[in-house]
């Protein structure tokens, strides 16, 4: 067996140049605390050039001549590069910097006590990207600025960094005026608004909702009774219609009270009466929403709408109307960051160069309609990518691998083309390309041990990814502290990048959090 194992090993025979080993003195030793390993890639260029890479094991869903397996989809990965910004889609070899000596990527082991959401009894492994506090260099702040700026700074027509400040000022001022209008309407008595609504709901709405529920519950039994009687009557009419006229024979004797048809007709009346009662109760509930007025004549439904708007603008309702936790405060905070970046850019300061990352794939797929293979292309190019503020924490609990991941990815431009060699001119290529400017994805998966991200392999050999654990005991911690995910795209454009008519506008997905997620692979 040992021999068998040996055979799978390989031998490396490097040439060594033996350097002198020098003993470290106390001063040097005391500096080395071993808390983390800094990692920097200087002048980095990665490019597969002419190498041919094939991705295998991907199958299409089209049946393979009666065999259940799908046909193989051949994926040729013809282009993959990571280099410095300005590489012109990977064609000009430009050295890129991943981390720097003062802001390295760091691989470190930390005690669980370093994080409130992780138990003190375990240690964890963390890999984090460089961190920057200067607004212009901080990807999260810069991306916020870029989202309001919409265009890519420095490109034609995009030279005034304060455009984004004006844009966010407009947002803040609209939100503030909405908030002021609400406070003015209720004379600043927002707490009274809340208590008034609560007491009206308790006195008027809750009792009537119970009536509605009772009436609604009566309908189903009445329907069942009617249906049984209908079957007994021989189903001579459509269910819900009564036997009338000729159905009941001479002088209506066939529908007399003792007959099956007569009994069915009575259950139809009962059923309709129950439905009617329910409708009356619902109308009364609606009337109460409309006609329960406060001392100034405001209906309950209007007050509820205003209250919900105020809650989203200000977070909590309190006597001082501090409005500290809502949308107004969040956007005012954003405005600070946006303004800091705009001031630095306006002063002529520049941001460090990012990375250019790109890949090109050719898919050879069987097209059932044509009965032949066809080729699909996908060409992804990202320009000016920065990743600072990202991290991955890994730890083990009960023999399971747990993780928490945050990925901050900002790209000045993200272009996805779908045309291959057939598009041999720039205009043709542009026509089949999706252009996204100022793309920012901040993806947070997992929150400590409250909601760890778990990777596992099931007993039947399938890959499983799970995000769970939020329950009645920890939901407050989760909603107060767990990181949210964001996706901003300043401008989305389909086809020719210079034609304004092709712009689809901007995209914002703000503050997304998954309470539960489970992904399992299945072998087809």
């Amino acid at each position: 067996m040992n021999k068998k194992i040996l055979c799978t090993f390989l031998v490396i025979a490097p040439i060594f140049a033996n350097a002198d080993l020098v003993a470290l003195d106390d001063a040097v030793l005391s500096n080395a605390t071993g808390e983390g390993l800094g990692i920097v890639l200087e002048d980095f260029v990665f490019n597969v050039d002419d190498a041919v890479t094939t991705v295998t094991g991907i199958k299409s869903s089209s049946p393979d001549g009666g065999v259940t397996d799908g046909r193989d989809v051949t994926v040729d990965w013809t282009e993959f590069y990571v280099m410095g910004e300005g590489s012109q889609n990977g064609t000009v070899e430009t050295p890129g910097q991943i981390g720097s000596l003062a802001h390295p990527w760091v691989l470190e082991t930390l005690p669980g006590s370093a994080f409130a959401s992780i138990g003190d009894d375990i240690a964890l492994l963390q890999l984090r990207s460089g961190e920057y506090t200067y607004a212009l260099e901080n990807t999260d702040k810069y991306a916020k600025w870029a989202r309001y700026q919409e265009c890519v700074y420095g490109q034609s027509g995009c030279t005034n960094a304060n455009d984004s400040v004006a844009a966010i000022d407009a947002v803040v001022s609209r939100l503030t005026s909405d908030k002021n209008a609400l406070e003015g309407y209720y004379s600043g008595q927002m707490v009274n608004l809340e208590t008034g609504i609560n007491s009206d709901i308790a006195a008027q709405i809750t009792p009537q909702e119970q009536v509605v529920a009772t009436q609604q519950a009566d309908i189903a039994p009445a329907y069942d009774t009617m249906e049984t009687a209908w079957t007994a009557s021989g189903e001579g009419v459509v269910l819900g219609q009564k036997y009338e006229g000729s159905d009941c024979g001479f002088l209506g004797i066939g529908c007399g009270s003792g007959t099956a048809k007569g009994q069915y007709n009575a259950t139809v009346d009962d059923y309709l009466a129950e439905v009617d009662d329910y409708n009356v109760a619902e109308r009364e509930l609606a009337r109460r929403y409309q006609e329960t007025l406060d001392s100034n004549g405001n209906s309950l439904i209007k007050r509820l709408r205003d209250y919900e708007s105020y809650r989203s603008l200000c977070g909590d309702v309190e006597a001082s109307n501090s409005c500290a936790n809502g949308l107004v405060a969040i956007r005012e905070g954003d405005r600070e960051d946006v303004n800091s970046v705009a001031v630095q850019l306006s002063a002529g300061y520049s941001r460090r160069a990012g990375l250019d990352i790109g890949s090109k794939f050719k898919f050879t797929v069987y097209d059932e309609d044509k009965g032949a293979y066809r080729e699909d292309f996908m060409d992804i190019d990202m320009k000016g990518v920065t990743l600072d503020g990202s991290y991955m924490k890994l730890w083990s609990r009960d023999n399971e691998l747990n993780a928490e991941i945050r990925l901050n990815l900002y790209a000045k431009e993200l272009n996805i083309g779908t045309c291959g060699s057939a598009c041999n001119t720039q205009a043709l290529q542009d026509s089949a390309t999706l252009f996204m400017d100022n793309f920012y994805l901040s993806l947070s998966l997992g929150y400590g041990e409250v909601q760890p991200l778990k990777f596992s392999v099931t007993a039947d050999g399938n890959f499983q990814l799970e995000l769970s654990g939020v329950d009645g005991t920890n939901y407050e911690d989760f909603y107060d502290n767990a990181q949210k995910s964001y996706l901003y795209v300043g401008n989305i454009q389909l086809g020719n990048a210079t034609a304004a008519a092709n712009s689809l506008g901007s995209l914002t997905v703000d503050g997304l959090r998954a309470t539960y997620l489970k992904v399992t692979s299945h072998d087809l």
């Binding site: 490097p14 983390g36 597969v48 190498a51 094939t54 990965w77 760091v106 200067y134 596992s456 099931t458």
Partner: protein
């Protein structure tokens, strides 16, 4: 097992040496040498080029003890191919993560390993009067790995998979726990040709 067999089974490995002329050094020159020579690596690695001892691509192949190898074909029906190395790890009590069918070769020249003393670093968080990042004292010894510029790949391939057994079994094999052996291949990668890999990887302790 003969030496010949071992070499046939083993991946081939050859290192490239550059023999320069040796000349004696002057005393003054010697004094300026600080022992930071570093290591220059060149190499070619090949995995399982001729197939391993456990599996044969076609039936009727024997290992060195005369036992018939299990049939495991990593090629196609018409063109059977030997399978590469299988490395499996179990990170929890469930199934296994598998790096399967790792085979082929790659070669590189000029991977350097040395330490260098960096006196300064650019601090992007602090700006001088004209808005440029300031140069701060760094004064640390860093490990500097110089990437080899070009890496040549020769039919280098691997498959990432998850499975319910570390060892590979033929289809339909029932495992000790009663489950049938199941492996889900996530994807496979096959590479041929030269790739560019340039730059310096710096490693140093941080507080």
């Amino acid at each position: 097992m003969t030496i010949r067999k071992i070499t046939a089974l083993l991946g081939l490995m050859s290192s490239v040496s550059a023999f320069a002329e040796l000349a004696p050094m002057e005393e003054a020159e010697m004094e300026s040498v600080t022992g930071q020579g570093g290591v220059y690596l060149s190499g070619e690695l090949a995995f399982n080029k001729e197939g391993g001892p456990l599996w044969g691509a076609t039936s009727g192949q024997f290992d060195e003890f005369g036992t018939e190898k299990q049939v495991r074909n990593c090629g196609t029906v018409s063109e059977p191919g030997e399978c590469g190395i299988r490395i499996a790890a179990q990170l929890d009590q469930g199934g296994w993560y598998v790096l399967d069918d790792l085979s082929g070769g790659f070669s590189f020249e000029g991977l350097t390993l040395r330490t260098s003393f960096r006196e300064t670093a650019l601090d992007y968080d602090v700006r001088d009067a004209s808005g440029n990042p300031v140069v701060e004292a760094f004064n640390k010894e860093v490990v500097e790995i110089g990437l080899p510029k070009t890496v040549s790949l020769n039919n280098f391939k691997f498959t990432l998979a998850v499975a319910n057994s570390g060892e590979w079994k033929p289809n339909g094999t029932v495992l000790a726990d009663g489950n049938t052996f199941q492996q889900t291949n996530l994807f496979g990668i096959q590479m041929n040709g030269d790739i560019t890999l340039k730059g310096n990887l710096l490693l140093f302790p941080v507080n």
